[in-house]
Symmetry: C2
Subunit: 376 residues, 2 copies
């Protein structure tokens, strides 16, 4: 918790649940990543948190932006981003979205199938395009692999044809999965994609860019490697494969930029035992999987939780949300422990929840309003 | 698809994704359930779809309402429901919500723990309360069991104490799980809870009500038993256990009332093969797990899908949503097949999606606006 957030919570006592985010921390994280990977161009993954205050701050830092939809393209433009600074990174785009982005001056698009390439050729003629390769997501707490990316062979044949179709075959991309906790995943992926890059270059395709995706982790309940370790591993792998002839390098961090900049303030609604003899207490909060904490699905992302009783005796708990939905359970198998003294009405903080929380919130499941948001 | 919905889609060609729901079908479903279980009082589970048009129609039919939050209580009152017709059925309630509902005249509350009973005694003194018993959810496609309900022993001791605490120990409840496809689940649960009912009555507690919960299924891709079979099984079990001395019977249908009254109109964004040699095509729609179809988590609810090419040759597909999230996959393992001719830009309909769709929709994940809604 930053001093600014602590002061806001103490002075304002905002109604819960709410996200409170310190935009200065966003800037610090951006600068830290820039320092670690000075040769990489940072495309902030807008989907992690599209708040205007965040986008504006990043525009001021000359960040680039990775947009998942035309709505996110618009949000970047509204915050002052130049269209040349925006990559439309979703490989699945409505024709209407491609046309609208192209009309606004966006000229960089991702794809990973022949069908999408044909849509781009028709509705964004002349655009720079990059093809996403399917890579292993081992080590990622929120893996992505089955839905996106294509094989090296298919990417090769598509990129060989892109020029004929009036597109500019600009680069290749991959994604090692979100909250990737091992540097090895980047090394393996770079090796795989660099081979294709070299192969296509030798075949006469004017490739200029490697998009290394995002995935850089945030410290939640458990430790993760420092960002420097990812930077070192990536640069070592890039130099190993490309020598002095490095292509442009793009990275698409989202979670890393905003995750630890914010926290969710929540209220304990009920603490009880399902059976009085059960050692495990059930702790129900006023936010759950459908109030924004969607990444607790399968207990994938394990947030650290601060309570007013920290330092006193603890006991095992299951943690659930406030809805009548049986699926609205955040943690039942991850050995969470919270203070015995915790009781209904207590305020708690879910730490490092600045990423992938606000936009996931349901519009009104069980009648509950979406998460309130404060940007300091 | 009802004629009214078909006409609306043909004439209005609404932008997708959207829910289109025929409120007349809601009335038909309500009357069918009333006909099947004439002795049961119907508390519509507002969380299934809280649209004002639906609540108003049900108020006109003298329905009762099961609310999950104070916001849902308010929605019922706004639609003209009397406070006496509302049950606050969530066993996990903020103190502020209990107080607000009590102040509005709501006098019937659920609980399943000592802590919640104490909150009710303090903040809704004199209220009628019912205790939720944990029962098996086998046979339910969307089970609830781990999060709610308590043991028979604990319920017994709580109900014995409710009177001393100034509450009216009104009844017992259970829930066999949502989209329950077997009548046997109700029979077993009624047997279990009826024994406690009799036991408490003999101990001098003035119990008057059995709340049988909801769970009545809707036909999605696969067949389910007719509602009459559930009605017969329930009445047979009730008579077996209570003879001529039947308590008041409450049921809390949500899905059954609104599910097949609506459909989601969606657009195919992309059809592709991840590898050209793969027989499985990936079909991406402009709605997915975070656009409202949350119950496809774990491929639990399997919606039927209509396309403009129905009747032509089919092939295997995986079906996913439009976001950059790897978890936004609806069906990959459920052997869905769709026409080979299906292509980007086609409109499709996800049938019987009137329940548990609109409110689940994220407020703007990946920039996408929540589902539009039309009530006819």
């Amino acid at each position: 918790m930053t001093p600014k957030i602590a002061r806001f919570l103490a002075e304002q006592q905002p109604a819960t649940p709410c996200l409170v985010l310190d935009v200065d921390r966003v800037e610090e994280n951006f600068r830290a990543l820039q320092h670690t990977l000075p040769l990489a161009r940072i495309y902030y993954a807008v989907k992690a948190n599209p708040a205007h205050q965040i986008l504006e701050r990043l525009v001021g830092l000359s960040s680039f932006f990775d947009a998942a939809s035309f709505e996110e393209v618009s949000a970047c433009l509204d915050a002052g981003a130049r269209p040349e600074a925006i990559s439309f990174g979703n490989t699945i785009k409505k024709v209407s979205a491609i046309r609208a982005a192209h009309a606004k001056g966006v000229s960089l698009f991702a794809f990973d199938s022949q069908e999408e390439m044909e849509k781009l050729a028709k509705h964004a003629p002349g655009a720079r395009v990059y093809c996403r390769i399917l890579v292993e997501n081992e080590g990622a707490d929120w893996p992505l692999s089955r839905k996106f990316g294509t094989t090296v062979d298919n990417a090769r044949s598509l990129m060989l044809r892109a020029g004929e179709m009036g597109l500019d075959p600009y680069g290749l991309s991959f994604h090692v999965g979100s909250q990737q906790t091992t540097t090895r995943a980047y090394e393996i992926a770079i090796g795989k994609v660099a081979m294709l890059f070299t192969d296509l270059t030798e075949a006469g395709v004017n490739l200029r860019m490697m998009n290394l995706g995002g995935g850089f982790p945030v410290r939640y309940r458990d430790d993760v490697p420092e960002i420097d370790q990812f930077g070192d591993a990536i640069m070592t792998a890039m130099v190993e494969h490309f020598g002095n002839n490095l292509p442009e390098m793009f990275i698409e961090p989202g979670r890393f930029i905003v995750g630890d900049a914010g926290l969710v303030s929540a209220e304990v609604v009920l603490v009880c035992r399902r059976d009085p003899s059960d050692p495990v207490r059930w702790v129900y909060l006023d936010i759950g999987r459908f109030g924004g904490l969607a990444e607790t699905e399968g207990e994938a992302i394990k947030y650290a939780i601060a309570t007013p009783h920290d330092g006193t005796a603890m006991g095992p708990v299951a943690i659930a949300g406030p809805t009548c939905d049986g699926a609205d359970i955040m943690y039942e198998k991850s050995n969470y422990r919270l203070p015995i003294a915790l009781t209904s009405g207590d305020k708690v903080e879910l730490l490092s929840t600045g990423a992938y929380v606000t936009t996931y919130a349901s519009q009104r499941f069980n009648g509950f309003a979406p998460l309130a948001e404060y940007y300091l």
